[in-house]
Amino acid sequence: MISLKNVSKIYANGARALHNVDLDIAAGEFVFLVGQSGAGKSTLIKLLYREETATRGLVMVNKFNLMRLRNYQIPAYRRRIGVIFQDFKLLPNKSVFENVSFAQQVIGKPKRERKANTDKMLALVGLSHKARSFPGELSGGEQQRVCIARAMVNNPLLLVADEPTGNLDETTAWEIMRLLYELNRLGTTVVMATHAMYIVNKMQKRVVRVERGRIAGEQPEVRR
């Protein structure tokens, strides 16, 4: 599913974010990226949703060679992956329903199908009753659930999450993790950057430790 070979990333200001990173993630895996702030986790995540391009190396995601992806091909690529963030990134002037529906609208899905999918996803994340609310009227946990619904509405094979529980209290964070766990169980590959070691330790999924732009160690999933 994901293959990074000898990947380095140096930003325009000269900062070296990643250095000779090799990483393979199989379809259906749940992988945590852990490490201190500035270790390179977010850069790695950004490479996966093609917000940034590696300076050197090879980045393959689901048969897409992201190093050779043309600008005009990026929207099509992004529609095949789901992305969620610590700060939610919801459209403030659109309702919950519209935020989720929008991701389908941009790929030209018909209205009826959009409505059915949006209703299904909102039910899955437990927010059917908030469909008409606006993001500003929701709690942090609810906003993150909308993000998950939006990220998953087009059935992507890969879900990339950058500190999705960073702004949430522990109880709400577990609600979000339960959802991500369910999605992974249904077949979606999940790559999640996080600081929350209480989650990482409890979930016992594969852990990749990033330090100073390098892969410093790995811990395989504990099969139960």
């Binding site: 093609r50 990026i74 929207p75 992004r78 529609r79 990134k89 403030p92 002037n93 030209g108």
Partner: protein
């Protein structure tokens, strides 16, 4: 797909204008203000030009014909003048008409004729008007060189300063329009840029979910177009009403000041305002959002 996308873009524009109500309101007001200034500047230019034309149209050449020329000779000279390039019109004031103008009273006229020995000394006069005031001096020179013309008068002392004045008036008018057009452009584009910048996050999110650039830029383009259209409509109402009132007032109270009261001229200015508003709004909007669309 195309109609779906167009429908999507249009719907997004209206929804966004409605949901960002105060931003929309401020943008429309700014556009209205800028376009009102532009409208008045254009009307100032039209009036400056109109005033210059009115002044210039009063410049004419008086050519006096030698008494040796008979009626046929006078007609030949008139024809020759008509054939000169730049001549708009030639009219003849005969010796008798000239005398009658000098002495409208028949008794006084008769007395005068008696005093000068019974021969009317007033010459035949040709009044020549030119298409362009700038051509008057040249034409006067050519007419003076014609056989049978013994004197030409065209207000030499008055013409040069007049031409200088009308030229400056036109330049001032153009400068005013240029300055206000620039101000209009800056005001509208700055306003719409700010409008787009406040929604940078929205653009980023649309990109994240895989929206094509035209789907992101389209609503901004139409929003800019609509803001320009609404701002221009308000400006047109203000400029149209105020100018009509002002032109009527000046025509009624200051009869010696030439004012453009022609409806067609006013409509041309209003059309320019409408086009400027819509074009500036749409283009600036689409260009501003482009900055956020680079990968």
């Amino acid at each position: 797909m195309f109609w779906n996308s167009l429908g999507f873009v249009l719907k997004q524009s209206f929804v966004s204008l409605y949901r960002n109500f105060w931003l929309t309101f401020a943008s429309i007001l700014t556009s209205m203000l800028a376009l009102t200034l532009l409208g008045f500047a254009l009307l100032f230019l039209a009036n400056a030009d109109h005033f210059a034309r009115a002044m210039e149209s009063q410049v004419e050449i008086a050519a006096f014909i030698d008494d040796a020329a008979d009626d046929a000779g006078v007609a030949d000279i008139m024809q020759a003048i008509r054939e000169l390039a730049g001549v708009a019109d030639v009219t003849l004031t005969t010796k008798d008409e000239g005398l009658r103008t000098l002495f409208p009273d028949a008794e006084a006229r008769a007395r005068y004729l008696e005093d000068v020995g019974g021969i009317n000394p007033v010459p035949n006069k040709l009044t020549v008007t030119a298409h362009e005031a700038e051509a008057v001096a040249d034409l006067a020179q050519q007419i003076m060189e014609m056989a049978g013309v013994y004197r030409v008068n065209y207000g030499e002392d008055f013409l040069v300063p007049l031409l200088r004045l009308t030229a400056s008036l036109r330049w001032v008018g153009l400068a005013v329009v240029g300055a206000f057009a620039l101000a209009t452009m800056l005001l509208i584009s700055l306003n719409i840029k700010t409008n787009v910048q406040t929604r940078e996050k929205e653009v980023q999110i649309m990109r994240l979910v895989g929206a094509e650039n035209f789907l992101i830029r389209g609503p901004f383009f139409f929003e800019g177009l609509l803001i320009g259209l609404l701002g221009a409509t308000l400006a047109i109402i203000i400029v149209g009403l105020v100018y009509t009132w002002l032109a009527e007032y000046i025509t009624a109270n200051l009869v010696f000041v030439p004012v453009v009261s022609d409806r067609a001229a006013l409509y041309s200015v209003l059309e320019i305002m409408l086009l400027a508003g819509m074009t500036l709004g749409a283009v600036t909007s689409a260009v501003s959002v482009r900055r956020f669309l680079r990968f």
